[in-house]
């Protein structure tokens, strides 16, 4: 869909994904690296092999062409600037002082090229009081809001396991870029797209970042489901407000995620779960016949107590220990349950569903054929996004790109 677009990709690990998404959609994306190779080639996870290889690089530089330049050599930098002049889009996550020193910053490149779309991904934005801050993925996760409310008991807030903040920002950068491309289609003018990773991750708080602004002083209640707190009960079934120990259950071969959602919106799913237990003789009356859509009301009125909830939980716990992850997943589909197997990477790789949907792409890493998520979405009509090939070697396409783009 984007075969007509040339993208000069000046990103490091912070913005690497942006170009991957545009390349998946058909754009000609040229990943520029300093002569010694991108720092993204050290981004974890790094697999030990004949040559240590960053799986982050292999995954998110996939489908791009590669060009390398000695950024200490003014002549090489001049050639790189010529490429920028031939591009529809420049995307970068290099630090601002470095871009300005090289004359590759938005103001310089756009001075003679008002049609250029120039997208910057950074932790805090192109300018402002925190723009010069030293940053990492964790620092952005802390500054943007999703870190603080994610507590496991009294322990310090918990990160999202592996770097994610800049992936949100880089995906936003691809969307912002496309909005600018659409605007250019109407006006002929390009513009600067300034993406803040701090802002990007706010949405990963389920609007908790807005709580104080709208006068909700108690948005992070972690309490027993159905218990009145601040004059209200959690009827969402989203799980965000439910303590962890009430959501994770052991099954025969691993763990499952399940919470006994209640209330008008999600109580039906718990009714379905208890119908399964009833059919298998795993729960007794009167719990077996509760209508979970009205359980919050019955708890508030005092008709049910939290001891009763414990009886219900005990029945579920005993039952799940007799079932496998696969059986739980199957029942979740057949019986419409909010009960889910907790998958690891091996489970995901073996999923018949993903195989049937043609989700996987294959790329070479060294001499190994590696399965990668290949389709961010499936499209009918025009050719949809797919991984276009392996990540480039350092400078693999420098000459051919210079020939093609500067013709």
């Amino acid at each position: 869909m984007l075969e007509h677009l040339r993208v000069l990709d000046l990103t490091d690990e912070r913005g690497l994904l942006c170009g991957r998404l545009l390349a998946d959609l058909g754009a000609d994306v040229v990943q520029v690296e300093p002569a010694g190779g991108s720092t993204a080639r050290q981004a974890p996870p790094v697999a030990e092999g004949a040559a240590p290889s960053s799986m982050y690089w292999e995954a998110f530089a996939a489908g791009k062409r590669g060009a390398a330049f000695d950024l200490d050599d003014p002549q090489e930098v001049a050639r790189l600037r010529l490429l920028a002049d031939a591009a529809d889009i420049v995307v970068t996550s290099w630090p601002r002082p470095r871009l300005e020193a090289l004359g590759l910053d938005p103001a310089t490149l756009r001075a003679d090229r008002p049609g250029l779309v120039y997208t910057v991904v950074s932790a805090f934005g192109w300018d402002g009081p925190k723009a010069p801050y030293a940053d990492t993925d964790l620092v952005v996760w802390a500054a943007g809001g999703p870190l603080a409310p994610h507590r496991d008991g009294d322990l310090p807030p918990l990160r999202i396991s592996v770097p994610q903040a800049f992936l949100h920002a880089a995906a936003d950068a691809a969307a912002g870029t496309m909005i600018a491309v659409l605007a250019r289609g109407a006006t002929g003018r390009g513009q600067v797209v300034d993406v803040s990773a701090q802002e990007a991750v706010g949405v990963a708080t389920l609007a908790r970042v807005l709580a104080t602004a709208v006068g909700d002083d108690h948005p992070e209640w972690q309490t027993t489901p159905g218990k009145r707190t601040g004059g209200r009960t959690d009827q969402s079934g989203s799980g965000a407000a439910t303590p962890n120990s009430l959501k994770k259950w052991h099954c025969r071969d691993g763990m499952v995620e399940l919470h006994l959602s209640m209330g008008p919106a999600a109580g039906t799913f718990t009714n379905n779960l208890f119908a399964w237990l009833r059919d298998e003789g795993a729960v007794e009356e009167p719990v077996a016949s509760w209508d979970w859509r009205v359980v919050p009301d019955r708890l508030v009125s005092g008709e049910l107590g939290h001891d009763d909830l414990d009886v219900a939980r005990a029945a579920v716990r005993a039952f799940l220990l007799t079932r496998t992850k696969a059986e739980v997943l199957d029942a979740a589909i057949r019986r419409r349950l909010l009960c889910m197997a907790i998958f690891d990477m091996a489970d995901i790789a073996a999923s018949p569903h993903l195989e049937e949907r043609g989700f996987w792409g294959h790329v070479d890493v060294g001499s190994t054929d590696v399965k990668l998520p290949g389709r961010m979405a499936q499209v009918r009509g025009p050719e949809g996004p797919r991984v276009r090939g392996r990540a480039p070697l350092v400078g693999e396409h420098t000459d051919v790109v210079l020939r093609e783009w500067l013709r």
């Binding site: 592996v162 109407a186 389709r375 499209v379």
Partner: protein, 407 residues
Amino acid sequence: MTTDALAGLKVLDLSWVVAGPLIGRTLADFGATVVRVESSVRVETARLMQPFHGGVQDKEGSALFGNCNAGKLGLTLDLKSEEGQQVVRDLVAWADVVVESFSPGQLRKWGLDYETLRAGKPDLVMLSTSIAGQHGPWSTLAGFGNVGSSLSGFQHLVGYEDRLPMGTFGPYTDYVGPRLALVTLLAALENRRRTGEGAYIDVSQVEAGIYFLSPQVAQFGYDGTIAERQGNRDQQYAPHGVFGCRQVDGKDRFVAVVARDTAEWRALARAMSRPDLADRADLATVEGRRAAQDEIESAVAAWTSGLAATEVERVLQSAGVPAHLAVTSDDYPADSQLGHRGHLVELPHPRHGTTWVEGPRYALSETPGRPRGAAPTLGQHNEMVLTEILGYDAERVAVLTEGGILR
């Protein structure tokens, strides 16, 4: 003079909760006209979710709903009725884009699926977002985004090594899916602009989540490593953690601290007045620091515990060390960088006087986006949509009203 990037784009939004509505929210920010259809009888889940204005649970008070739907026009409709479905058909005839998040197969039952709708409108761009996609064995899976977190590998991966998997904060794939969906949708619009061709886009939240774990998937494919949870630690940097600071007004405060290299580690140790650690030879490499991680983390925690988190941030950032307060909703409105970018936007609201939403995550220099108004109250724009957009006469609107269709 600036125009809106997406001026003239017409969008019918049939989605609900978070993953679907966030797509139309961005389109509205950049100038599209977005008509959102919902039911006032079967009230959509996001309206029942915290945070709430003034902390009071009310279906017109959810800041989450407000954040996902700002700037849209609201129409309430009984989609189960023949007459309601006809209104939808008329809106499709008006629209360029349809976004929906019903259970896969539901729209076909109503004769509102893509194949049917495109018959009279070959350039229609339609996007469906669901937990696991429109086809495949898991496509009938019920549930919210936290089901997506389990099947995409995040539940397994987030948490402390020696504790239960903690999972993500809220339905994580709800934050990922709409970003990848939006990029694909905008590419389809660019393709349509150039070729007149429509498209159907099938987004799976599970697949979007796995896409954001591409490096971990690749590593499994490369050498069989199954990524495991590691608390707040990191495979690249040490120390890398979240540390308790002095309480403020009885509330826990935390700061994220990372050293990306040995120079930053030494700067951190000196800032902590621990020259002994700064000079220790065994801590001069990341491998050495990783081996001593427990000791280093205790030392950092001992230092931060007596300080305000903002003070730790200030001291370390002035020494060039990545650090940031773990921002809570109390801090968010006062953050200097977010303030500089105008990220929080105050909007007039018919019930609450004013409300607050997040602004766009990317600043476009020529065609900046902004929320055009608060999210609609139930049925707020019924009259306007039916008469001004669809051109219905007063009699037809009256028949729909009296027939109970506009609920």
